[in-house]
């Protein structure tokens, strides 16, 4: 189990290109389908990771690892996500130091972008469905999204405001 946990997150670290959010569908498929964690817990984990400072893949690994195997599991899973990228980048830094602005690599990444965006957007629907969101409860996130996009408010303020709202909500 511990070995599988490490290998799974090595795979996830290896296939993450760009940002970790694109990996949500893959992680969900691997973990929820294997019945390691149920889908409710998975969505809870996602919302917690969203509100932490992060390297997304490493955080989600640590949370899942902890649920499954305690501290040992969380260390193994988190190390799993960094090991492959670390080796690849070190090899590049050591041996290909001179490869300068590489135009086609840049172009390839630009081509990947729409796919990455689609991968990020697709879990939004399944998460919203799993949470059985009412119209009233989608209002706040929509407002937050609009204020981040149009007023350039930093996500950290949104997170702090969310904590405050949750707290105030408990007072009444």
């Amino acid at each position: 189990m511990s070995k599988n946990l490490f290998l799974l997150f090595t795979k996830i670290g290896l296939f993450t290109i760009g940002g970790g959010h694109a990996m949500i569908p893959l992680i969900e498929k691997e973990i929820v389908d294997k019945k390691w964690i149920d889908s409710d817990t998975f969505h809870e984990i996602i919302s917690i990771t969203e509100s932490l400072p992060r390297v997304f893949a490493t955080n989600i690994a640590a949370l899942v690892g902890y649920r499954l195997k305690g501290i040992k599991g969380s260390i193994l899973a988190a190390l799993g996500t960094i090991i492959a990228p670390l080796i690849i980048i070190l090899l590049i830094a050591l041996f290909f130091n001179q490869f300068q602005e590489n135009l086609w690599i840049d172009k390839a990444f630009k081509g990947l972008r729409p796919a990455v965006v689609a991968l990020i957007i697709s879990p939004l629907y399944s998460i919203a469905k799993a949470q059985k969101l009412s119209f009233k409860r989608t209002l706040l996130p929509l407002l937050a999204l609009a204020s981040m996009i149009f007023l350039s408010i930093s996500p950290i303020w949104i997170i702090l405001a969310t904590l405050l709202i949750g707290f105030l909500y408990s007072l009444k």
Partner: protein
């Protein structure tokens, strides 16, 4: 002492790294290029381009690469630079990792806590907005 400075910089980035890998990039650039002038802006952009196009989370890739480059630029040999890059990578993940351990440890106790339940109740739909924002910032370069 450049090693301690480097570790301190990545510790701060790890603590302040809300908003994901791409938000981290501007923090790293700010510290490494502007404040400390450990590398030129061109070196940094090259390095980010490579980090983006190799597998792995962008925050990890950039931390590894920057850690290596800074120490190499300071005139140390590749072995020491590799060790420095290993430390930069681990340090950048460490603050969030410790937070997660504390949180996971206490979550079992807190799960039935009234405040915690309400906060999580608001946080859950809000995570949709935060993920949506990541998608948006990828569409607009």
């Amino acid at each position: 002492m450049i090693f301690i400075q480097l570790i301190w910089v990545f510790l701060k980035i790890g603590i302040l790294g809300f908003g994901g890998g791409y938000a981290m990039l501007s923090l790293i650039q700010n510290k490494v290029v502007r404040n400390h002038q450990w590398m030129s802006n061109k070196e940094f952009t090259d390095l980010v381009a490579i980090s983006q196009s190799t597998p792995g989370p962008i925050g990890i890739n950039t931390a590894t690469f920057v850690g290596y480059k800074v120490i190499e630029n300071a005139g140390y040999n590749p072995f020491i630079a590799s060790i420095a890059s290993l430390f930069s990578t681990i340090i950048v993940c460490l603050p969030a990792f410790i937070l997660i351990l504390l949180l996971s440890y206490s979550i079992q106790k807190f799960r039935k806590n009234f405040y915690f339940k309400n906060i999580l109740g608001v946080l859950k739909p809000m995570s949709l907005a935060l993920i949506g924002y990541v998608a948006y910032s990828l569409i607009t370069p």
